[in-house]
């Protein structure tokens, strides 16, 4: 049996049986190295090397910065959005979308966005008489803006496997993020009018002014992080460390909602959640060694070439595949497992790795709200205390909107490549 095939079968089989993914990756690599008579030192060596990338250092830092900031700024972001668009019918759902997008420009994770924003706006929407399933649906779908709008941990993981520039991936996902946010807001407007959802009083400049003044430190953060990266001041890793320092200063000294005593705990939690992603990243590097030497990717390429020679068809097939994978798997795990297998195929079909990374990440982020494994949907559902089938039904139009945007960015490549290439002068 081909060693590459063995690894894939073991990986998928064991993962489906509920083995932790890192163990499935490890057992798969171990068995395949044995089968192919390859030296086992590859295992620890590649695992170490896979984790030894400077871009990966940004993962714990972005997680930390997001965790630290979420305490102080969530309420303030929501107040700002409320002051500006509170007079529109169904304003709270629009606030949820907008605040999630703003939060996404600070945090790199969907679950963090769902708990930070949805945790506050779902109960608020219910209090104002919004249908609970709609409240859960809008908060769930908004939370995927967290990892889609840069910074994004999924994109950092993808960058570490493919050597595509993190800065370019971040830049390329700005437009997709904005398009999705605008499309969701449009739906929110429509829904608010159709169901005659409540509005608040007219906006008043003084209220806007005071909420912006209170939240100004939070609003500055995306400017520092993304402006710093896109302006060429920091590398993404440096920007992430600056974000931690900035958020610590704001939380400890300006908003004073965190004490030094809490620091160790915050650091430890950031490190442990990073570790669960990183062991998989490391071990995927070991399995990609086996897959490469097995010749399987070439067979995959010739198989697909026998079906089609069109990148359009390949991208369609891959998008469907990822939507299915996204139902079952967490996004980072999926990127780690699939990217090494697909790289030779992408190269053979001349598919741009920058655009593909953004499309793949967008697709797998949709998986955060698709059952059965949809962490953000489940989380919001708990907050809203609704039946999953009801919130899923309420979310369905918004899910379809997300999938339409996905195909838009798949086939209209300037949406992902224009900004990076403008930067390229």
């Amino acid at each position: 049996m081909n060693a590459g095939l063995l690894i894939i079968i073991l990986l998928l089989g064991l993962a489906l049986l509920g083995f932790p993914i890192y163990i499935a990756l490890g057992i798969g690599a171990l068995a395949a190295l044995n089968l192919a008579d390859l030296p086992l030192i590859v295992l620890p060596q590649r695992m170490f090397a896979g984790m030894n990338g400077s871009a990966l250092l940004a993962i714990p830092f972005f997680i930390l910065a997001g965790n630290i900031m979420s305490r102080s700024i969530t309420g303030k972001l929501i107040d700002i959005c409320n002051a500006i668009i509170g007079h529109i019918k169904g304003s709270l759902s629009l606030v949820t979308i907008l605040a999630s997008a703003l939060f996404g420009a600070i945090s790199g994770s969907g679950v963090a966005t769902a708990s930070a924003i949805g945790g506050i706006t779902i109960p608020a929407m219910k209090r104002e008489g919004y249908p609970a399933p709609f409240a859960v649906g809008v908060a769930s779908i908004s939370s995927i803006l967290g990892p889609i709008i840069p910074p994004s941990i999924v994109l950092i993981v993808y960058a570490s496997i493919t050597n595509v520039s993190v800065a370019e991936l971040f830049l390329g996902s700005v437009l997709p993020g904005i398009i999705l946010a605008v499309a969701l807001i449009a739906y929110g407007l429509y829904y608010g009018h159709k169901h005659n959802l409540p509005a608040h009083e007219k906006p008043n400049l003084r209220k806007i002014g005071s909420s912006v003044r209170k939240g100004i430190w939070a609003l500055l953060m995306p400017i520092i992080i993304l402006g710093g990266i896109f302006g060429g001041i920091f590398t993404p890793t440096e920007a992430s460390a600056v974000a931690v320092v900035y958020s610590l200063i704001i939380s400890l000294f300006v908003y004073k909602d965190m004490s030094f005593k809490e620091l160790p705990q915050v650091f430890v939690e950031g490190a442990v959640s990073t570790a669960t992603i990183m062991v998989m990243v490391g071990l995927s590097s070991a399995s990609s060694y086996v897959i490469t030497t097995s010749g399987l990717p070439q067979q995959l390429v010739s198989f697909f070439s026998s079906i089609t020679n069109s990148p359009v068809v390949i991208l369609l097939l891959l998008n469907i595949l990822f939507l299915i994978i996204g139902m079952l798997m967490e996004a980072n795990a999926a990127v780690v497992m699939m990217t090494p297998i697909l790289l030779p195929l992408l190269n053979a079909f001349g598919i741009d790795l920058l655009q593909f990374g953004i499309v793949m990440s967008f697709n797998l982020c949709i998986g955060l709200v698709t059952p059965p494994v949809g962490l953000c949907l489940l989380l919001c559902n708990q907050t809203g205390e609704t039946r999953l089938s009801h919130s899923l039904k309420a979310m369905m139009p918004m899910l379809l909107i997300s999938i339409i945007v996905l195909f838009l960015i798949t086939y209209v490549s300037p949406l992902t490549t224009l900004l990076p290439s403008i930067m390229a002068g």
Partner: protein
């Protein structure tokens, strides 16, 4: 180690006695290490009448250079083609490969590496690090591509330049008074565009392959480093091979080094024409002034290499 790798298999259908995995940086023809390896592979298979078969694993698919070298004794890869300088983690002497301003041109480079001194360097680096080094392939002198025109040593003061994250390269630019910025190669193009750095240094051919002409209108012919590619195997494994195979490998490596040197000269000429047509300005600098500026460099930074540097300088054709 585990006894020199899992290379000797006969049952793979090629009919070869030895089937070796060759780890390469480049993934396709056109990359110099890849092309030198191709010359080598064809010559070896010819000289051994097919007893040795070599399979390429490009694009670092067997691991990064350091991983491949580290795992070679265990059989992660059987053979590789890399610059002599990549052995620096194993022996300080390998830094001779990145010493600035010790050559004055291609002929000087060939005089060193085609002669006894070059062989002595290969043997000493190999013995110190546990590898067998064979042949030396010219890679083209390293130059600086920049967003502004630079001419003199003084122009380089405070110049922000991308350098590999290696002490040996950083020291060169600190000696120049520049501000070296270690960056991954993948981030360099963007960094140049955004002005995070004002230049980068590489050979003309490598710089062209990264399309730096799109962001750097000035290519400063500093020719600061002449580095050599070489064929590398695990030393113990090499010595366990029959003598006729050993000598075939050495002969093929020397042949590959000579062939690639000629190719590089031709390709550099063609590249200069293309790049000029694309609007690149090649800036000649006073190499004597730069060489003078670096006269005490080895003594100050790599004292144990100073003697080797002097021996190399002594072989300058017009000295």
């Amino acid at each position: 180690g585990c006894g020199g790798g899992g290379g000797d298999s006969g049952g793979d259908g090629t009919g070869a006695e030895y089937t070796w995995r060759m780890a390469l940086n480049g993934s396709a023809p056109g990359e110099l290490g890849y092309d030198m390896a191709t010359f080598f592979k064809e010559k070896v298979e010819e000289l051994t009448s097919g007893r040795v078969s070599i399979e390429f694993y490009g694009g670092n698919s067997l691991g990064s250079t350091t991983e491949v070298l580290e795992g070679m004794a265990a059989g992660v890869a059987d053979i590789t083609c890399e610059s002599v300088g990549t052995l620096a983690p194993f022996t300080n002497l390998a830094n001779i490969d990145i010493m600035p301003y010790i050559y004055n041109g291609y002929d000087h480079f060939q005089a060193v590496w085609g002669g006894e001194l070059g062989q002595e360097i290969l043997d000493t680096v190999g013995n110190d690090s546990g590898f067998k080094l064979m042949g030396a392939g010219y890679r083209g002198a390293r130059i600086v591509t920049a967003t502004k025109e630079m001419k003199t040593v003084e122009d380089f003061a405070g110049f922000k330049l991308r350098s590999p994250n290696l002490e040996g390269y950083i020291k060169v630019w600190e000696w120049m008074g520049s501000a070296p910025t270690p960056l991954a190669m993948g981030e360099t193009y963007t960094a140049l565009q955004q002005g995070t750095v004002d230049g980068q240094e590489n050979s003309i051919l490598d710089s062209q392959s990264y399309s730096f002409q799109e962001v750097c209108p000035y290519w400063i012919l500093t020719n600061h480093v002449y580095s050599a590619n070489t064929i590398i195997m695990d030393k113990a494994y090499f010595e366990s091979l029959p003598e006729d195979i050993q000598s075939a490998l050495e002969e093929a490596a020397v042949y590959a080094g000579e062939q690639i040197g000629q190719e590089v000269l031709e390709r550099e000429d063609a590249a200069k024409e293309e790049l000029t047509a694309e609007g690149v300005t090649f800036v000649d600098v006073d190499n004597a002034a730069f060489t003078e500026h670096f006269s005490g460099y080895a003594e100050a930074n790599f004292p144990d290499l100073a003697d080797w540097c002097n021996q190399i300088r002594a072989l300058a054709p017009n000295a």
